[in-house]
């Protein structure tokens, strides 16, 4: 299946292709040598390209079609996952997956946006753009987790909440707002991880927690660079400029005090080695849940309140 890959990553793709071909050939001293040379070149090429990533290139990585998605992480770091469906109000929204699993043998609630790989699956999952029922399903599972005193992890990867007639009719804004309000007070530890695209309110609706982690090449933004360019520059082709202005990279958001920890990705990005990425993520979750478990419920909730309460920059004179 042909996937569009950003041109700046093409040299990496070509080298990977060459390595795959060499690996298929008969082992001879000559091919072994060529293989080693190609692998070295791949490492160097990755180092060169990733040494100076622009925010716009980071956007392309965050949206990379081979990037691991929520279900990949769930299966990569948890066992016994049971997906639960439906908001008990209207429908099930495949743009969000939610359920329970075992993490290091302990039960945990896991919720995340889910993109599709094939065209059919992309459409079925609405490109991970949830409708209100997706957010309501998420909240239903989170409240259930609270009832059974289970920690919650959310994986955030969406272009944004779906802008459609049906979504508006059923209260997209209300669904998002209610999640923000409810998540602020849930009496169990919540760790939110921005794994790919953190698209505005559609991302934030799964993004209120005790820790906000972000993968190195993920993005988190109040509006897509394309949308921002269309509004402020009246020109969608200025997206590259908008991406820079918006400060949407993990490093920027760590600096702004919004993200607690940036999780390093494998060389070339998470898509190059999904199991390694899942292992890094699992280690981070272990670390943060261990810290959060020590807190009494009241302290947990009041720290969460303070965390968001102090976000924002202003002057008082």
């Amino acid at each position: 299946m042909a996937q569009p890959v950003s041109s700046f990553l093409e040299p990496i793709g070509e080298l990977q292709q060459r390595i795959r071909e060499l690996e298929k050939e008969q082992t001879s001293a000559e091919t072994a040598q060529a293989l080693e040379a190609a692998r070295r070149e791949l490492r160097e090429t990755i180092d060169r390209i990733f040494a100076h990533l622009t925010p716009w290139q980071t956007c392309q990585l965050a949206r990379h079609p081979e990037r691991p998605y929520t279900l990949d992480y769930i299966h990569g770091m948890m066992t016994e996952f049971t997906e639960l469906h439906g908001d008990r109000r209207f429908a099930d929204d495949p743009a969000i997956v939610a359920g329970f699993a075992l993490f290091d043998g302990d039960p945990i609630a896991v919720i995340g946006h889910q993109k599709g790989r094939s065209t059919a699956e992309k459409v079925r999952r609405n490109f991970a753009m949830p409708r209100p029922e997706g957010y309501r399903k998420a909240l239903r599972i989170m409240k259930m987790a609270a009832r059974f005193s289970l920690p919650i992890v959310t994986f955030i990867d969406t272009p944004g909440a779906y802008p459609g007639i049906d979504a508006e009719e059923r209260g997209q804004a209300e669904a998002i707002a209610t999640n923000l309000l409810e998540m602020a007070r849930l009496p169990v530890p919540i760790v939110c991880v921005i794994t790919g695209e953190g698209g505005s309110g559609g991302a934030l609706a799964l993004g209120v927690g005790d820790r906000i982690l972000m993968l190195e090449h993920a993005i988190y933004s109040v509006i897509s660079p394309e949308g921002c360019a269309a509004i402020l520059w009246k020109d969608q082709s200025r997206a590259e400029q908008a991406a820079e202005a918006l400060r949407l990279t993990a490093r920027d958001l760590k600096h702004l005090g919004i993200v607690d920890e940036v999780l390093e990705e494998p060389a070339g990005g998470a898509q190059m080695d999904p199991p390694a990425m899942a292992a890094t993520l699992a280690d981070a979750l272990r670390h943060h849940f261990k810290q959060l478990r020590r807190l009494k419920t009241e302290a947990l909730i009041s720290k969460r309140y303070k965390k968001f309460r102090t976000m924002g920059k202003y002057l008082e004179r």
């Binding site: 997209q172 804004a173 602020a184 109040v222 949308g227 924002g312």
Partner: protein, 266 residues
């Protein structure tokens, strides 16, 4: 009341809905509602507070809070320059003015958005003022009324703007726990991050007639689905029908409606 920005200065004005030429005073004396067709003209935050507080009297809170430029944001203009221009033109209150006063004799806090200040966009200042308004309500056991009028989050402050949604909603959750009433008034327009946070979280949600209310803007939806939107879509009456609002109230009855609701929760 002073004439509002989109009601042109002068003796005569044209109603943008019924196209009638109206005597200016006739409109201002009618709470900026067209006496012919009931079209609700947009109000400034100050006009809104005057309308809702007894004798139009209130104390402005959190006045010294000002926007900064945390990202060094430049589009076709630098954000600090934009801020300066709007402050000069509209006033120092940014896109939200918070007042404390009485509503039919009972103390309350009202937070009214100022659309003329960068489209009522919500950045750190709007978030901070709302959070402080909520904390003051918690400390003094006061009811909170917000009047939304906003295009959504302020892009120039990036994710910091987005986080204001979470910050305000977290505060409202505390008001709920403490049993303090919060009434949300939605006016034309209320979209984006403001709708998807405090505007939709009222114990009671009241809209003015004909107001555009939604999460996504109509143009974005049209571009996404490549269809014409149905008549009346995302208007107050549409939201009432779909269960998102408790009532749609004419501006002349707004204060009485708020006051009556507050009597139930005293």
């Amino acid at each position: 009341m002073k004439p509002e920005a989109n009601v042109r200065e002068g003796l005569w004005i044209k109603c943008e809905a019924c196209k009638e030429i109206l005597y200016h005073k006739e409109v201002t004396n009618n709470a900026l509602v067209c006496p012919r067709c009931d079209h609700h003209f947009r109000m400034t935050a100050a006009q809104r507070l005057e309308l809702l507080f007894d004798e139009g009297q209130y104390k402005t809170l959190f006045r010294p809070i000002r926007s900064v430029d945390p990202l060094g944001f430049v589009d076709t203009k630098a954000y600090p320059d934009r801020l300066k221009a709007y402050t000069r033109r509209v006033g120092p209150g940014d896109a939200l003015i918070v007042g404390q006063g009485n509503i039919e004799g009972e103390p309350a806090i009202i937070a009214a958005m100022e659309y003329a200040f960068m489209g009522g966009s919500m950045g750190s200042v709007v978030g901070e003022k709302m959070a402080r308004a909520i904390e003051r309500c918690l400390a003094r056991k006061l009811p909170l009324i917000s009047v939304a009028c906003s295009g959504g989050a302020r892009m120039q402050e990036g994710v910091l703007s987005l986080m204001q949604m979470a910050k305000i909603s977290a505060g409202l959750a505390r008001m709920r726990e403490k049993g303090l009433p919060y009434i949300s008034v939605l006016t034309d327009p209320t979209t984006g991050g403001v709708t998807a946070s405090f505007a939709m979280l009222g114990d009671i949600n009241i809209a003015e007639p004909g107001a555009l209310i939604g999460f996504a803007g109509p143009r974005v939806i049209e571009q996404t689905i490549r269809q014409k939107l149905p008549e009346g879509f995302q208007r107050s009456e549409f939201l009432l029908e779909h269960g998102m609002l408790d009532m749609v109230v004419h501006r002349r009855d707004l204060k009485a409606a708020i006051a009556r609701c507050l009597t139930y929760f005293r």
